[in-house]
Symmetry: C3
Subunit: 346 residues, 3 copies
């Protein structure tokens, strides 16, 4: 496919500075772009790359006044370069189409309900009593347990496992090999042995959630583990039983949340962070990378470190950390000098 | 299903305080329970919820003397509320039954041995020479490699992979998408390149072990990686090659154990902890969340932090951590004051 | 199979000290070896085990002068005991043979290209436009998306998912349930909600790479996420979108690398380490276990801690950490003593 800059400008509601008739055929990252590519700059700090890029055109923010336009011939000015570029990607690299229908090599219970234009692909399994929404896609090897429900326009990538009774909303995306509804980690001590506490609750994933690859979300003991509307979860995240995550929160890769904890709305949990069980993380708060929250975190606050403390305190402390040996030495030295001063006065 | 409190009291060997004829139809968490639900309180700190819960009945510990019985009408007093509640869950929410037999869409080698009443479900694969025990369930998409052995009454959830030659005991549960017997991470340097050291040992998982979802347990180079009887492993845990874990130990989510390390009996490893290779963690010891053990840990001890130190020392130190900038400032101030004192004496 | 030590010495280019006619039938770890086993010692510190092992023969480094040869009768002296032992393992425990051909229960698109002697096993899926190289093995349940390419002599273990368009080189090994090409974690804020940024790049894995189990490697937004030739990745590692890893690097279990970061050649990233996005880790550098790199790391350097600092500084500081309460107390004491000294001079 080939489009002129004029045609692209129309698609993204922008205006061309340069050659409106110039043609582009693909998208590329600004460092790798060559003749025929269109790219973008969203972050002002990258404006310097305008000189060196080989792209035919660059999408820029209107307010980033076009600088002395050296190597680059053509710009498209828009309000939000990232969103404009997303639209251009959809033009040049459309998602592969999905074929609706039940593949002859899938295994769908006659007692399951499959929505209109759903795509149930090879080696997917849908058990008795399960409900799959309209236009929902189960890629090869997906497993939907007995009585589980999946909404409309949802995409479950290859190898996703949804255990019995769990509920997944509409427009949800779950990436390959993630697990929804595995048993919570609950045991009662019986002497030195452990007796399993049955986990008979479910997981409820609300609309517009996205879940990364190899994520594990455990079912509640009773009741529900909940992932609220619009929340985004990265790869390899652990969500324990009975956790409730609010709406529009973000949980970055390899973070873990222990049992029964409540995460508010619009919370950000950075990569490899851990959150203890039975605590509450307030709305609009953030937990830093590798942090470990052991107590409640108030709304609108930023915490880091383990145990987590306010981020600014942690930042200041972490700068001193490397100087600990020096501090210790100085302290010992001061003590000597002090002892020397004290002596004559005895 | 509907049961009277009298019937439930008989099932859990408890006694009713209140209306013996009251009927319940389901279990629920105490905060979410409504008319017709039965719930429980195991932790004294939750006794205050007795007032606000909408449950029809609450299972309580005998020794938690029934307080002024406000909103709640009915109690069932027992010795252990959690175990009693587990029994009630089994009544109201029984496990879905498993259909025995080999599904026509499974792929079982004619040279494999399948036990009586085993359930080999759709798209499961059992390779040549493998042995599957009586009443064992392989959910859809499970893979059992050549010559692997699985005991009786074991449950392998959808997507579990057991590589060739590995041995899994009886009454074991492994959750979705976990991997048993992947190659250990072993290489020999050959200049700046790495040459793979073949990993030809196995994994041996003993009886009554439970393994979470997306767990990886690597096969030994030679010999065996061992998970001892009754040990419980949470989601996303990494067990490297040649590790030996003792009996009745607990390893919480996202913890990792490096190669050839020995974990004793009744050890507790908390979430996101890491344990270096070739060390020994003594019986009955605990390692805190996010801790990193770099040396042996003696039996019956509690360690935290990275590098791990005795938990109490770590707790005290972590309180001071946030005050490091203050300490540094005070030290500099003291030095000035000291220099001032020293001057006249020169 | 049974071989004499003479025969083994020929196979590993070593020489026998002891009974050349002695027969061995298997390999074993030195602590577990019994009559009929051959084992090895690579690390001088294990030479003491020579006395206690029950092995019939031990492979030793030539330069480790055979000590007073007590319980052990037979040695094979070689230049590199580990590489010699690897060769002996290949003799006694050969890899199970793989049957070439497309299994009748696999699902291969007629528009895919399958190489000579490739093995496409039960329930594997190869989508339209995909290319599978010669002698490459797809174990049961592997998924190869539309237009993906896999080179020659590559092994994808059971449950591996390769999404559309991704490229995997030759002689690559990917362990069970790993995911190549899941969407990168990218969103644009739209008020308090997140709008997904389509991820339309690919993952490119070069020749001779090995990837552990349950690893996630996200596709680039545009362009490629790259794993360079010969790099080895352990289990449960997260590689975010647009990351570039160089050649012959090593990334140990549960480490995570955030988006757009560049890892050089021959870099070592230890277990549970985290690397922030958009930074650069120089060639031949190392990052310690549990470390968190938040800024560039220069070539040939060793960093640890979070935020990461030079390893030696971190080591010294971490020794002081446990003594923080003591330091604080001493500081307060010094202040008192100083105040006492200051008083008379007021």
């Amino acid at each position: 496919m080939e489009l002129t800059l004029k045609e692209i400008a129309v698609a993204v509601a922008g205006c061309v500075v340069g050659d409106e008739a110039a043609a582009v055929r693909d998208v590329a990252p600004i460092e790798e772009a060559t003749e025929g590519d269109i790219t973008f700059i969203s972050d002002r700090r990258h404006l310097k790359l305008l000189k060196s890029t080989g792209a035919t055109a660059v999408i820029l923010r209107e307010s980033d006044s076009p600088p002395a336009n050296g190597a680059i011939k053509n710009l498209i000015l828009v309000k939000d370069p990232l969103l404009a570029f997303v639209r251009v990607m959809d033009i040049f690299r459309p998602q592969p189409p999905v074929v609706p229908g039940i593949h002859p090599k899938a295994e769908v219970s006659p007692k399951a309900a499959i929505g209109t234009d759903a795509s149930i692909q090879a080696f997917a399994v849908v058990e008795e009593g399960a409900v799959i929404g309209d236009r929902t896609t189960l890629y090869p090897g997906v497993y939907i347990g007995r009585g589980a429900r999946v909404g409309d326009d949802t995409v479950l990538h290859s190898g996703v496992r949804v255990r019995e009774g769990c509920q997944i909303g509409s427009r949800v995306i779950i990436h390959c090999n993630s697990v929804v509804g595995s048993d919570g980690f609950g045991y009662a001590r019986a002497g030195s042995r452990y007796e399993k506490i049955p986990q008979r609750g479910i997981v409820r994933i609300e609309d517009d959630v996205e879940v990364g690859a190899c994520v594990t979300i455990d079912r509640a003991t009773i009741g529900s583990t909940v992932i609220g509307r619009g929340t985004k979860i990265d790869n390899l995240v652990q969500i324990a039983h009975n956790v409730k995550v609010g709406t529009d929160s973000v949980i970055v890769a390899q973070a873990g949340i222990a049992g029964s904890t409540r995460i508010g709305n619009r919370v950000q949990v950075a990569g490899q962070a851990g959150i203890a069980g039975h605590i509450e993380i307030g709305d609009d708060s953030s937990l830093g990378a590798k942090a470990g929250a052991t107590n409640d975190i108030p709304p609108r606050s930023v915490y880091s470190g383990f145990p987590a403390i306010p981020h600014k305190e942690w930042l200041r402390a972490s700068v001193v950390y490397g100087k600990l040996p020096e501090l210790k030495k100085k302290l010992e030295e001061l003590e000597k000098r002090l002892s020397k001063l004290e002596k004559p006065q005895e």
